[in-house]
């Protein structure tokens, strides 16, 4: 197989769906579990290794698996082509906005102890603030990776 044919074959595998029921069934079973593990890694960053970056990469891996097996057109329902970049911006804004909220409420930038949520002591507020910024990181990393994959396909 020379280089041009290999290129064409690779391209077809990246763009078009893989027509094999075995692959489809396996991927459809696998994707929800990968996403659950991704959410687990994100939420469990407080207690074990993990957090926003790792959870985001896992979520992106599940979507990319769908893109590879179902093809670009059929996986639009899960994650439309236009969504990733705005989502990444939203993620970065959640992070910066949490910091701004704390600053408006009287603390310094990113000082989660001052977040305006009533009925919680500052230490719990910090716990919550960490969870919020990790949500921003997760969204940003996930959508950035998906967007790079989509752009490599030339969509």
């Amino acid at each position: 197989m020379n280089e041009v044919t290999r290129d064409i074959v690779l391209r077809r595998h990246m763009e078009g769906p893989i027509v094999s029921p075995i692959v489809h069934v396996c991927i459809r079973g696998l994707v929800p579990f990968i996403q659950i593990v991704g959410l687990y890694v994100y939420f469990h960053g407080h207690y074990s290794p993990g957090g926003g970056f790792q959870g985001g990469v896992l979520m992106a891996a599940s979507i990319i698996l769908l893109r590879m097996s179902l093809g670009l057109a059929d996986s639009q329902a899960v994650m439309p082509n236009r969504l990733p970049i705005p989502l990444a911006a939203v993620g970065a804004l959640i992070y910066a906005g949490t910091g701004l909220f704390a600053m408006v409420a009287g603390g310094s930038y990113l000082d989660y102890g001052f977040l305006p949520i009533p009925g919680l002591e500052p230490a719990m507020l910090r716990n919550l603030g960490i969870l919020m910024i990790e949500l921003g990181v997760t969204l940003c990393v996930m959508s950035t990776i998906i967007s790079i994959y989509d752009n490599l396909l030339g969509s």
Binding site: F53, A88, A92, A123, N127, E134, S147, N151, S155
Partner: protein, 98 residues
């Protein structure tokens, strides 16, 4: 030329071996990294984090507290870098529909 390279490599490896042998053991309270006070009697960041990360943020994972709370601004920068990389890829790679 090759002999010199091998000699230099051997010399560097010898230095590394000696350095590794003389590293303090894990968790040694007297090693410089685990001091509570530095030579100028000021506080050391590592000891402060170890003692205060749980009371400050009620989060058992010390690394998360340092990354997201004490050093939150740094992580904000990392996130923005990831986002900027994504946008740069968008403009470099997207196929124009002209």
């Amino acid at each position: 030329m090759k002999a010199i390279r091998i000699l230099a490599l051997a010399a560097f490896s010898a230095v590394m071996m000696v350095a590794v042998v003389h590293l303090p053991p894990k968790g040694d309270p007297h090693s410089p990294a685990n001091r509570v006070e530095n030579v100028l009697k000021g506080p050391v960041a590592g000891a402060y984090y170890i003692q205060n990360s749980y009371p400050d943020a009620k989060t058992p994972n010390m690394v998360t507290v340092i990354l997201a709370d004490y050093r939150g601004f740094d992580t904000l920068g990392e996130t923005v870098v990831v986002f900027a990389g994504g946008v740069a890829c968008l403009y470099l790679l997207r196929r124009r529909t002209a």
